[in-house]
Subunit: 207 residues, 2 copies
Amino acid sequence: MSHAPEGKPGTVRPGGRTARTRTDVLAATRAELTDTGLARMTVEKVAARAGVAKTTVYARWRDISGLIVDLLSELTVRTVPVPDTGSLEEDLRQLARSLLELFRSTEDLVMFEAIFATALHDREAREALSAFYAFRLDASAALVDRAAARGEVPPGTDRLEVIRTLSSAFYYRRFISGEPVTERDADRAAAVAAHSARAGLLVVPPA
Amino acid sequence: MSHAPEGKPGTVRPGGRTARTRTDVLAATRAELTDTGLARMTVEKVAARAGVAKTTVYARWRDISGLIVDLLSELTVRTVPVPDTGSLEEDLRQLARSLLELFRSTEDLVMFEAIFATALHDREAREALSAFYAFRLDASAALVDRAAARGEVPPGTDRLEVIRTLSSAFYYRRFISGEPVTERDADRAAAVAAHSARAGLLVVPPA
């Protein structure tokens, strides 16, 4: 181990050894991703780079997919917080603006591009990315739950679909059509998603 | 040349030699894309496979980007026609359903995936893809022009943004979050795009 345990032996306090191990392992994951590429990464190399035992990585993250999901989750929890302003449209606007900022960071953008590219032909990468988006959509949809509780959207609104409607405009421009994405596009995506939700276009259909 | 010219020497009638050359060259482009991959394709190999002079390919398509743009354009003009039903929402629904079918064809899906993956790290592929989407968005937006002429959408509606709003839901699910896309999603995307356009959310802002 490259870090001395903090506190008494056998205890792990918040922000202590466990947190530091995660920080080191995710930093190593990111560095390996950049240097080696997702398709050729191994748990062994990540563990060596982080200076932790590979059994620790296997026990906690299981495999490369687990590492990728945790890396993207940690990054987005930190950089794309889920707003709570008391207004659905304002929450969506702030979420869209954070997403815009994330993809303006060249380093983060390159990392996402590398993962998207691999996911287009590699099943394990595809599953990691799907697991990450399932996590993110669910986390972000908390703002839709709050809007529903305030009566801003009709009963039966599909909480995930509101977030998909917001996000998809971005991803389409950034990664598919290759067009620039601006603050105006972020605000417009928020207006479209909020309006569609309020109008009942995003309700779950009867089974 | 693998094909004898049709009609009198020096004449080219519709559906004749020029059309056949295009068919052969685009089929060869597609085959090379599958076998060799976009990053390693050359005009020479495409020409050889098509049985045409490489000077013919250079003169008509200029480079690999030109071939990719023409391949995708030809495919989508054929398989994703621009509807004209007299109703914006119905036109959008039919367009969405055709797009759904296109991405259900495994062979076409794999081809798009290969191009998307390359465009994520290769500038020439990125430019080809952007040129293709500029062409497609413009062609599809003819249905928005007709809706505007009927007074279905407010003056100043951004014709391309209506099509982007429709398409992005698909691309997000199919290529980013990795979720299934169904007829219901297609119809919902059409409702969201039509509703947003009618509500004036997709107008071009004042300069």
